[in-house]
Symmetry: D2
Subunit: 334 residues, 4 copies
């Protein structure tokens, strides 16, 4: 049995509590938030959970094996570091931390102390991404050419981070998880329209040594909600549309045939059309799978699929994108 | 009556011939192509049109008032220049020319000789773009924040130009036409996967002084055909989906309310949801409207909506994008 | 404060409990079900709710002002009748009862005793149907020509009722609510494929004196989920697609112009195309609105929008459809 | 070489001319229409085609082997009969004739004289229907349960036939072609709103002995264009959406599992979810394939896929539907 404390009971906290409660192997023993109102809510819904507004109570409690941090990004590092230092396993909401230095520090501490450090890149645990991973790992797509992601909607203009820090972590994590190759540099551009100095629309290109190119489009001011990812390979291509109710993943038997017949100077390039296939997807709630992964990793010492390293990679790309935006699109090496 | 010669009878030529033939004020008097087969086709379908494989015949003919150039991009300049120098009005397929220098030269010659120089940015003549122009010109969108365009499909990998030169001219022209402001710089990235040195997937950001940001995504290797443009303003937003059969233009009464109440340090930003409205669009074939515009401008001396200047602006952005791609995303001033 | 007992804690019961609990004016005081497991669930989630497997406890309790019946259709009548006879207000899941005789009896008893009798035709309380009602009541559609509804999916093959009794009540209730006219006769056809004698696919036409025609298509064996209703009028037409995320209701300024110029024998009929408009919809959960309506009607004595009469009308059409199916489509008068 | 005369140069005639002209094995030698304007059009576009307003010229011409009839339904019989009696092969626009008696007579005459009689049920020659035929003939769908077709749009209110005669022939022909079983009876309902006595919205159910049920929904007053057919079987199901640009046919590995374990009285019925598959379709123009089929059948004496018999079957169902509508849905045996 893993005893979990949830820190931060705002938007994500209640979902974490609910999902940990539904696991046989976990118990939510404590909940920490600065708001007395929110703690009263916890008490009403879950009388058995201890509540506190003092994080030291969490650190001191022998009833807490693991801490789930669901607070604003700027505070992730502090809460996570202190929890690790007190020997607690840690789950952090995405992104792992507000800078590469912070993220590296967390990875290092967790490594030294042999504690589980995991970041909640929820999408990695969806049926859709798991199916795509299977398909790509089987080599069905051939060589990967591009990973293109659009995540836009009319959304809350955040006051502490720009739109890439808010929305791109999901898709960067998906890309990192799927392509099996580490990005080498980043170019990004964006615009800020409300005098906040934080971009509300932004675009980022990510380069890989293999020739693969990644691209991310994030926007808080789009009139429609779009969540579409294209993954193009030499043999097949995937369209992943998270707004689709049932057929979220479509695999197209389409691609390019490149031939270099003898005696011909230039390669012959032709495109190829074929069937489309939409695999049936597991519909278990991703957050449930994520919570189960965390608990299992705490219990067995196994590395989580979204471990500190993967969280750090995402933060590396985010930090580089911010630097590139300031330099008006100039490439930033990772 | 305007007598038109069509030069190049490949993909676009037959469409030009057909549309000029349907106008009362125009006649197609000559067709020029290097291929004897194609000329035979012309003869079979349109016995009254003179055919030739020698462009000098076109230049020399007193039966030719205007020349429509539908040849590969690299040859636009030569054909157009010579036609202008022989006193012929000129319509050129998009993009106007292969470089800014060439495009500038054409604009200059046409200006001096007071001849009509027009580029076939067909989309400007669609019911959809004309309606969007109306809406934006009425100020319904408020301040413009972004113009985002995706034009991707599984398409012919061109051998002479990259994917931006092939697909982006449509959308750059639409942006230039709609926003009423000149772009100031360009960042672009892309990837080439077949050893041709020409990008088959590319992304371009265009900056404006007002804070407006433009973005273009073009890809020859997408498994699905997407033709979607978003235009976001402070008051309303437009989604223009050219793949929709009937409701291509949707206007969303959605936006952002920014308030700065007295005594408050930070502006209050909130988004606003409202109705959506899809105006009925004129469905006349765009190419027909374009042909009519050309003929009318030749007859009256009026400037065409897609004149040489607008063609030059598009080429400026394309040339800058190519330079930026080579410099891995670095900003190029226009 | 209205004290509610929920009878039946299967699929709908928990939703009713949750929604009544969220109202300030209501309390859920008791829950009745035959399954000890389900009652244990209630106890765990809501320790303050009394549980029982004996309906007599509900009837006898002074802490129960109103009974919400969420049991199989065949038992609605018995539970509802006994509750009314014990002076309790009653809310019944759709359809109100298993026969016209039963439904009439309930309406009569409730009338005599001046108790609230309401049926949970949930869709009447959605933002979509409320908006459609507004639009139609304003006369925007002109004369109504047809009401066409498709509600199909791959669903549980029920063992006690056919697909019309299962799925059509939603749409019949919507039609009754919107059109403001009573149906006069019914034709229905269907097929049963699994030896159960209960149709798993069925079609029903409903006639009105005004010339309006209604049609319902229900199917448990459809590979895709479709929930689409068309309402056609002389001036405008509505498409209501409940599977759309945000634009569920679209109003088309399309219709037919009928002119009878003097001296012309036949009317001139032409169709007319215009804009489309998708109004912003209230997104409050329909079940919450429904629960609030019930509680308010209990408190004030006002007639609910989905009162016993409207439940009876739906049952009349269902019963007639069953008879018509047995007679292979023959018209059955209402 | 088959010499074809096209009779009727209104909406369909020009398409027939164009498609026959594109075949190597056919020539269009004559065109007959009552309108001098239309004949002038033919002359302008196709100087080599003889034109006439007198059908006797067609019958008398030795340069006419076959006659394609593209006139109003009410005149099909006369033109086709006379052509057959003059030894000409005949292609007729759908529906074959205005009554069963007429259609039977044509089939009989063609049979006696061993002439090709074919009806232009164009959809049978589309890539979509041909692919569905393949899939169904392979038995992939298992037992067929239902065939449901919706063909609605805002369309011309015809003055000579009701909406079923206008729109349903397409879908009835598709059903007849796909299911390999003859319908036994028909129920239909509809409404006429403009005092013409001709239904502008109609619904038809078709029964088969096997338990298969067919249904057709046709409407001239729908604000949106829908062309969707569902075919449900015990093993798989098809959704055919003709408005889709590329994935018109989707095959769902979804169905129902019926088990009757020993000792259990009632069969256990459960539904089954699986992958979806959209086969690549041949995109050759259907009308071209149809024209080629006609010419080949004329040359070889082979029976066309859409021969007189299949045209007669469609007319049988149409005639029965008309009778059933008059009797308010009562079943009419075929």
């Amino acid at each position: 049995m893993v005893n979990v404390a949830v820190v931060g009971y705002g938007y994500w906290g209640p979902n974490l509590v609910r999902n940990f409660l539904e696991l046989d192997a976990a118990r939510v023993t404590m909940c920490c938030d600065l708001s007395a109102d929110r703690l009263a809510q916890v008490k009403r819904k879950h009388p058995s959970i201890a509540v506190t507004s003092d994080f030291d109570d969490v650190l001191a409690s022998p009833d807490v094996d693991a801490v789930a941090v669901a607070t604003p990004v700027g505070t992730h590092y502090d809460f996570a570091r202190r929890a690790l230092e007190h020997g607690k396993h840690v789950l952090v909401e995405k992104p792992l931390a507000a800078s590469v230095a912070e993220a590296e520090s967390l990875v290092e501490i967790a490594g030294k102390r042999e504690l589980t450090l995991m970041v909640n890149h929820t999408f990695i645990y969806t049926g859709a991404v798991r199916k795509m991973k299977e398909i790509i790992d089987r080599g069905e797509l051939g060589d990967l050419y591009y990973f293109d992601s659009v995540r836009i909607n009319l959304g809350l203009i955040q006051r502490d981070v720009n739109v890439l820090w808010d929305l791109a972590p999901h898709d960067i994590a998906i890309m990192e998880h799927l392509v099996g190759e580490r990005a080498v540099s980043v170019c990004a551009t964006g615009a800020s329209h409300f005098g906040t100095g934080l971009e509300n629309v932004a675009y980022m290109t990510v380069f890989f040594d293999s020739g693969l190119i990644g691209h991310f489009h994030n926007n808080w001011l789009a009139p429609v909600k779009i969540r579409t990812t294209l993954v193009g390979g030499s043999k097949k291509m995937i369209v992943y549309d998270d707004m689709e109710v049932s057929e979220k993943v479509k695999v197209y038997d389409r691609g390019v045939d490149v031939e270099t017949p003898e005696g011909v100077r230039q390669a012959l390039i032709a495109y190829r059309l074929g069937d489309m296939w939409a695999p049936q997807l597991d519909t278990t709630e991703a957050l449930r799978n994520m919570a189960a992964e965390f608990v299992e990793c705490v219990q067995t010492g196994r590395r989580p699929r979204t471990d500190g390293e993967s969280g750090l990679n995402v933060v590396r790309i985010l930090e580089a994108s911010e630097m590139s935006i300031k330099r008006r699109g100039r490439e930033v090496k990772l």
